[in-house]
């Protein structure tokens, strides 16, 4: 899996490509978890180019969302589509994670004052 990390203003934009599973989850965790420790962090994870995700990948997303919330930061997922969207729906994670349809909406949500996840 490829992880592309960039900044849009104060927002950390993480784009994922490939497959998020047991083999790749550690690498993404090493990228995301330190971000949740930054004060007032704002994180957008774009899944538009992610081909598939397993339950272990879902757990990481849930863990990052929880850590971010506990530390007063902001975290949102976006661009869910195809099989990835199907997995989020089937597992029920669609209902408990902060999600925006598009990247622009997600960045706007994270850029807004007092925005949270």
């Amino acid at each position: 899996m490829d992880v592309l990390h960039s900044r849009v203003g104060s927002v950390h934009l993480i784009q994922l490509r490939g497959r998020l599973d047991a083999l790749s989850v550690e690498r993404l965790s090493a990228e995301l978890m330190p971000l949740t420790e930054l004060p007032s962090h704002r994180i957008v994870v774009a899944l538009g180019e992610l081909q598939s995700i397993t339950s272990i990948g879902l757990r990481l997303m849930l863990r990052v969302a929880r850590e971010s919330r506990l530390r007063g930061g902001g975290f949102v997922l976006c661009e869910l589509q195809g099989f990835v969207l199907e997995v989020f729906e089937t597992s029920g994670f669609l209902d408990i994670l902060p999600i925006e349809p598009g990247r622009d909406e997600a960045i706007e949500r994270m850029s807004a004052p007092r925005s949270g996840g």
Binding site: A22, L23, T54, S55, L58, L62, T90, S91, F93, I96
Partner: protein, 563 residues
Amino acid sequence: MYRTNDRPPAGPLAILTLQHTALVMVFMVYPVAIAQAIGLAPAETGAFLAATLFACAVGTLVQVLRTPWGSGQLGVLIPTPVMMPALIHIGSLGGLPLIAGFAWMLAASELVIARLLPRLKICFPPEVCGVVIIGLGLAIGPTALMQFTGSVTASDTSIDPLHLLVAGLTLASVIGATLFAGGRLRLVAVGIGLIVGSLAGVSLGLTPSQALDRLQNLPWFGMPNLNMMALSVDVSLLPIAVLLALIACIDNLGAQVGIQRLVDPRWRSIDFRQGSGSVQANAAGDLTAGLISGMPVGLSSSHVGLMFATNAAARIIAPCTAALLVIAAFMPRLIEVLSLIPRPVIGALMVYTAAYLIVSGMQLTQSRLLSDRRMFTVGLSLVVGLMPLALPDLKAGLPDSLQALYESSLSMSAITAIGLTLLFRIGIRNHARLPSDLDPADFEALSDFFLRMGRLWGAQRDLIMRATRATGEAVEAFALQGIRREAIDCELQFDEDTLNVILRYRGPVLECPERRPPAASALDDDHHLALIAGHLVRRSVDELLQSSEPDGQNHQLTLRFEH
């Protein structure tokens, strides 16, 4: 789009019915050609044409009856060009009675073949059906282009500019209406082309003035003088009847695939119950033809093209078309009007239809993963299908029984595709075990293995992707339960209907709950996450089977996917 059970409003229904009926009239040139070739008198010709219209109507009506009688789909029967050479030969031997007897032999052969069709499923994987549909398009091509350019024979070197102008105008009208018109206009794009082209053709003098004069003298209504039960049977013609029935069935199934794909966007493989019904409807048409001395009929691929072009597959169109065909049989003047559609207009509509069919067939050949064997099957079949078009004179050197086969590029490509499919099945096992040196937790390796086997078996790409993902999820769930990779054995079993992924493992049973576990429990511990993984696995398969050895340690998890 008007689907199978939709009821279009009266206006569109009337236009669609007229389009289908008019297209049948286009194919009435074949019985006319037979009548001329065997020297029928004008009265006999009229009766032959009227009887053929009745046969088309009966076949179309039975076609739309639900299985097991018909296919339950809209499908119009027409006089088929593939029968023409044999019928001219038979008609010159014994006139209409021998043709009528031959029609009954055809019907009997088709009824037997219809019963056998489900068992012939292995002969008709999607790439063969795709080749058949491309073959249908290619088979229409030469006639279509001759009509389009105004050529009289295939070797004609001149192009008639008037023909080309009218044909181009017709085609441009159809394409323009399809691309740029919205709503109902798009639905009747072919009809618009027909009207624009016909008006242009008549005004430019493409319809002979004597034909228009003859039309004036014909009565609106007249009772056709049908030859009831005037048939003679020559048993020596039975082998030709069986061969032609087989070709008709392949043609029929090719058209059926087109219809099934149109009405079901998620079409995966041919529905042989409908296929059998469709061949039975063909037999009903041929029985009728035999009974009243008409020309044997077949399911029209051009009408399937029309259904694609108009995006209308409503069953109700069938009885309306059948009714109009019967009425037409009693209306000499109407038959004449429809027969006067200028040749280039017919050519343009046939070119449009051929283009639709060829592209549709190409898509179908790509709908499953193609191994080298399957690529050869598709490629070689199409090359063989081009033989009658590229080397038409070879036919003369063939035995009589093979000449009808060589007549049709469709039959040549279809029979080659079926033959190669059966030949290339030799030596392919329908099960495979993941090599022990491959780590099932390595998704790329797992995916490569599944794809390799999928190509060999000709599985659908989507099916292989689903199976790979579900297996990957199951392997992760095993890991979450502490089951070591070495304790997992993975086997694939494939047939035309299902793909089974059999996972044998040692350790605690993997739970795959029907009910969705709370998503938030994923953070609790690995066991809860394994439950979520098990639920995802269950939801991603068509059927999930679990069994355990009496020792309680060895288990089998079968993930079943419908093809």
